[in-house]
Amino acid sequence: MNQKLENQIISVAYGDANIWQKIKIMFLAKKNKDVAKLLSEYSKTAESVKKLTVNFPDGILENLNVQPSKTKPVKSSMAPAFSFILNRPVLSAATVTAVLVIVLVLLFSGRSQNNYGYTEAQIKLADKQVKQTLALVSNVFNETERTLEKDVFVNKVGRPLSQSVEIVNNLFNGGSRNEKLN
């Protein structure tokens, strides 16, 4: 028997061992007579030690200079409110229900309003207005293009240009006729 095992037997006998050590020693005690004997002896000693009463001499406790701890106990300002609610089952159940209802309402209202607080009708109207605005922009550009092609190029540029060419042609034709005449 080694020192480690003996220490474990002492711990079990004095009740300091954990559950696994207790099981291990009980198991060994059943198998090994020496272990069982040692455990029995230490258990008896432990029982007699527990029965001992300690009497301090008069005034020894008073003479002890114990400094009180400087750290103040932390007490939350919300503690009375929490204890008030938690000590009443009906109130705590009502609080949990109220919190659940608020969470559900917030979730569903957020979903129906599409996160930005707009209703489906508002989005549909905005969709229509956006398309109409884009159409307006497109129309202005198309109208400008049409004006440029039909009015500016044809009437303001093409016609004077063709008239000028015609005048030049006439001049040349007239000139050649004059040359022939000369």
Partner: protein, 189 residues
Amino acid sequence: MKNLIKLTIALLLLSGFTMFAQNQDEDYSKYPGYVNFGDLSVFEKGDEVTEVLIDQNLLKMVAKFTKGKEDSSNALSNLIGGLKLIRVNTFKVSPSSKGELLSKVKLIEKDLKKKKWERMVKAKSKGEITNIFVKTDNNSDKIIGLTIMSIDKSGEASFVNIVGNIDMETIGKLSNKFDIPGLDSLNNK
């Protein structure tokens, strides 16, 4: 430690509220593509008045709403998703206040030129005027703002400002493909 937790929660709540408030009331004047037309209500005559103001959040929602299986739907969705603000004012202007409105248009033109907007179109004939300005990004040459100011013969005035990434090619392609209702239906909202 507990005080630290309380402070952190308070800061988180505060930042959450601030972000919410910012989203609700964003200052669009910080975007270079934004144009302030000022108060146009003084020129509006009769009931034929259309005011459209669609902000970034609503545009994002519309982009989601528009997204479909077709490529053209996705192109439109991407186009709308890139926009930050759409503002449209169309109204009938009375002949008496037409001159005043034209002066206002000239002032806005000057302001836009100062802010280095590029004029794409200026058409002026027989009582009609059309001005199209674009603002391009200095780094990428992308169009980040579009402004249209137009007054036709009948006195129909249109002021449009689109802020964000504007793909003119996609607008041109999609307007034909989607058969989007035009100017006439804009008034019948």
